[in-house]
Point group: C2
Chain length 207, copies 2
């Protein structure tokens, strides 16, 4: 199960409303066409109703492609639409709370920028941890200073659950992240802003 | 059950971070001391973790007082902390979605400013509808034009579930709302901004 999950976490394409002036759904479809095994719907401070509508539309696409859908922060939206999981940061609901209100098998990702936070997330029932920003990034205004690939290695050595590197990851710099011990990478602009999101997804998966 | 619920909805004190420079918990405690049978925690665009922390602190107080706690919008927070219910607006999760992800007996309030929306909410499984703004209000920036007490009467006649009037309601103008057919009133500033929140709560309950 964990190995199967790690395989499906080798690339998480995180959505961004800023996706080159194209409809988000088109970009996600291209990423799925390129083989993206997981999508994360991320909308900051949006209303739950349109988010649930968008999540349902995405879920139809991810199911068709055999990919996982994670919802960022809004666990209620994830549960309501039947997404496979949710991703929560340190200021979102705690993994223990998410586990308490979700059905068996619901996948929980937790942002953890230190080994301590990653171990706590694992103890709280997280299925994977997102660690970053690995590199400098412009996609998340609230991201801290880059943690580098060494941190990825240290955290991957500390926990049993998969580690996913996030932040500033591109086709060019993805390889050192998985070489350091990450099961996969999460990207925003590398796919969302790509001229050819399908080709960018394929290129990321080849690394 | 419905009658018992209507009785407990005769006054819902909705929280506001703007509560006269006092700690919110002190104002809620005073409202509970004054007999408030229901509290709604309302935080717009806040992070879920501090909201859950605050909800748990509130729940300890409401349980002690035998009052209900509703969480505005964030159904996941309501479920995680074990609050009695959630209140959702027309841009929040739909009542059908809330019902699907919540345990039996979880109370769902829905904002509905027309009879059509109130009937839809009832069909979707809402336990009560909040109708407003009854009067002009400064507490909710996104509130529409006042609907007046006639609308309260029309909606109360149309649905079987309790109707709670909200918006611009004070000690002075609360009586026409219940006379028009509302089971109760929801107030923000009438208690949150009151010099004496306990006395204001008692005065509202006497109407």
């Amino acid at each position: 199960m964990t190995n199967g999950l790690a395989e499906r976490l080798r690339l998480i394409v995180v959505t961004d409303p800023e996706c080159g002036g194209r409809p988000l759904m088109d970009v996600v479809r291209a990423a799925l066409q390129g083989g993206a095994p997981a999508i994360q719907l991320r909308i900051k401070d949006g209303d739950a109703r349109p988010m649930a509508d968008q999540a349902r539309a995405l879920l139809a696409e991810t199911r068709r492609a055999g990919a996982l859908l994670f919802i960022n922060d809004r666990v209620d939206v994830a549960l309501a639409v039947g997404a496979e999981g949710a991703h929560v940061g340190q200021s979102d609901l705690a993994a223990t709370d998410v586990r308490r209100i979700s059905p068996p098998g619901f996948l929980i990702g937790v942002s953890a920028e230190s080994a301590e936070l990653a171990l706590a997330a694992q103890a709280d029932g997280a299925d994977y941890v997102g660690v970053g920003p690995v590199y400098a990034t412009g996609s998340k205004a609230d991201a801290g200073p880059p943690v580098g690939t060494e941190r990825i290695g240290a955290i991957a050595a500390a926990v049993r659950i998969p580690v996913v590197g996030i932040g500033g990851i591109t086709v060019e710099n993805a390889l050192p992240v998985t070489r350091a011990g990450a099961a996969g990478v999460a990207v925003i602009s590398a796919v969302m802003q790509a001229n050819d999101p399908e080709a960018a997804t394929r290129a990321l998966l080849r690394r």
